[in-house]
């Protein structure tokens, strides 16, 4: 059913080709490996008409995903709503604002379900029986859930100071969770070493070239759902910088395939002030990332001090004419509430970062009121409730007069 469109893994730095195996680093220069497609073969099979006949999942773009066989994991993932956000737009001064809402991505409520579906389908192709990841939350949830349905063993490595709720939401699916003393970057470094030691498919290490490609579907969907158009602006949260880079790639690919009315899309990156190494590099007009030693922000899912795709993200932002901003924790919380109150969407702290950044970018005059703008909401607020202050509601007895007293004369 699916002839492979993948030619090889190719080093992004020196261009050396590698076989389609569980590899992620170039032996010559340590550059990251990326999937190389035969775009002529893709163009011969993938058309807008063909896409439109397929089920509404991320796999409707399967020729642009790095599998050699039909997918076997996460078959119903993706194709989340792109919602017109007029009330939020009014508050911010925008007349053509959309939210791409992956806070309702199936099955674990974040865009990680896209990348994990690709990574675990690939893991099965490659014959892995156990998968693993380093994560603080969303990726852990998704790997554990998908491993359960795929019948794969799963190891999840987390920092040892995570909240119980997040650990529980990974353990429920049966993964073995191991806490590691240290920060997220420490866990990541350990996982890089473990990849050498065990024959496990580490979704964000040795399966990374495949895994990261799953993020492109978020970008494809935006373009299709806008009626095969590219927006003038996309605001993207950044941790490693991978999502922004892959959304940029999705724009390039659809442009190259002639699927879209192109407009030069500006990519804007959003980070938290307590961990904004990519935004800091963009501000210096540089690709040279200065790592942050001790990330400090409520947006824990974005707290990567040493973002490996920061180099590419900074380059993509600056090449597009976009910008990057780093917002405070107070702005994040305010933006989470604003999105909830205007659009009925409860996003996690990372979504608060996106909306706060959007607000800042509009205020700086970088987005004009009528320009088509998309804000990327990638995770669900029920996972990061500790970031918000609980306010106890007023309590009354079940008598109408008590409510009347509470509300006062304005409601009489």
């Amino acid at each position: 059913m699916l002839n492979s469109m993948v030619q090889a893994l190719r080093c992004r730095e020196c261009g050396r080709d590698y076989p389609k195996e569980a590899l992620h680093v170039c032996e010559d220069c340590f550059g990251p490996l990326e999937v190389a497609y035969d775009y002529e073969a893709v163009a011969a099979r993938l058309t807008r008409a063909a896409i439109a006949t397929r089920p509404p999942t991320m796999w409707r773009y399967r020729e642009l995903l790095p599998l050699d066989a039909p997918p076997t994991v996460g078959l119903d993932n993706g194709f989340t709503p792109l919602v017109r956000a007029d009330r939020l737009g009014q508050r911010l001064g925008l007349r053509a604002l959309y939210i791409k809402n992956d806070s309702v991505c199936h099955p674990t409520w974040s865009f990680k379900d896209r990348v994990v579906a690709v990574a675990l389908s690939k893991a099965r192709e490659l014959g892995f029986e156990t998968v693993a990841c380093a994560s603080t939350g969303n990726l852990a949830n998704s790997v554990s859930a998908h491993a359960a349905t795929a019948g794969l063993g799963a190891f999840v490595f987390i920092p040892d100071d995570l909240e119980a709720g997040k650990v529980l939401a990974t353990q429920i699916y049966g993964a073995r969770v191991v806490a590691v003393r240290g920060s997220y970057d420490d866990v990541n470094r350990l996982c890089a070493e473990l990849t050498d030691r065990y024959r496990w498919g580490f979704v964000n290490v040795n399966l990374r070239p495949y895994y990261a490609e799953g993020s492109k579907t978020y970008g494809y969907e935006i373009q299709e759902q806008l009626g095969w158009r590219q927006p003038a602006h996309i605001v993207v949260p950044m941790a490693s910088g991978s999502l922004l880079t892959k959304i940029g790639k999705s724009l390039d690919e659809f442009r190259q395939l002639g699927f879209v009315t192109t407009s030069p899309t500006r990519l804007h990156g959003a980070q938290a002030a307590g961990c904004g190494p990519i935004a800091e590099a963009v501000a210096r007009d540089s690709e040279d990332i200065r790592p942050v030693k001790k990330p400090q922000t409520i947006a824990k899912s974005l707290a990567i001090g040493n973002p490996a795709d920061g180099f590419y993200a900074s380059r993509a932002i600056r090449a597009s004419g976009g910008t990057a901003v780093a917002v405070s924790d107070a702005e994040i919380v305010e933006a989470m509430k604003l999105l909830g109150e205007c659009e009925g969407i409860f996003t996690e702290t990372a979504g608060g970062v996106t909306i706060a950044a959007l607000r800042r970018i509009v205020a700086e005059g970088r987005i004009q009121a009528d320009e088509l703008t998309v804000a990327c909401i990638t995770g669900n607020g029920l996972k990061t409730q500790e970031a918000l202050q609980f306010t106890a509601p007023p309590v009354i007895s079940p008598h109408a007069h008590e409510l009347a007293a509470l509300l006062g004369p304005a409601y009489e």
């Binding site: 032996e27 603080t136 964000n204 949260p237 999502l243």
Partner: protein, 92 residues
């Protein structure tokens, strides 16, 4: 002599050894010592100008040398040095 942990991608140069010993008072000297024992290894870790390649991270006893003094970072006999490919995390 400090202990240096070698990643898979460099083990062809170290005859398959996961750990090797290297002398030197700084990271720069340790790399020079590695090069004399395992010719070719420096070019894989450092670029033409001699600086650490963009996608290589070096840790001295779990501390990233970019937070220390880069190639000038002092090395003790008891230190464990890790050469780790820069990989991104699980998040966006």
């Amino acid at each position: 002599m400090a202990t240096v942990r070698i990643p898979t991608s460099l083990r062809k140069l170290t005859q398959g050894k996961e750990e090797v010993q290297a002398s030197g008072a700084t990271i720069g000297e340790v790399i020079a010592s590695l090069e004399s024992s395992y010719p070719g290894i420096r070019a894989r870790i450092c670029d033409e100008s001699g600086a650490l390649r963009r996608f290589v991270n070096l840790f001295v006893s779990a501390e990233d040398i970019r937070f220390l003094k880069n190639l000038e970072t002092p090395v003790q006999e008891s230190d464990e040095i890790s050469i780790v490919p820069a990989i991104a995390g699980g998040q966006c």
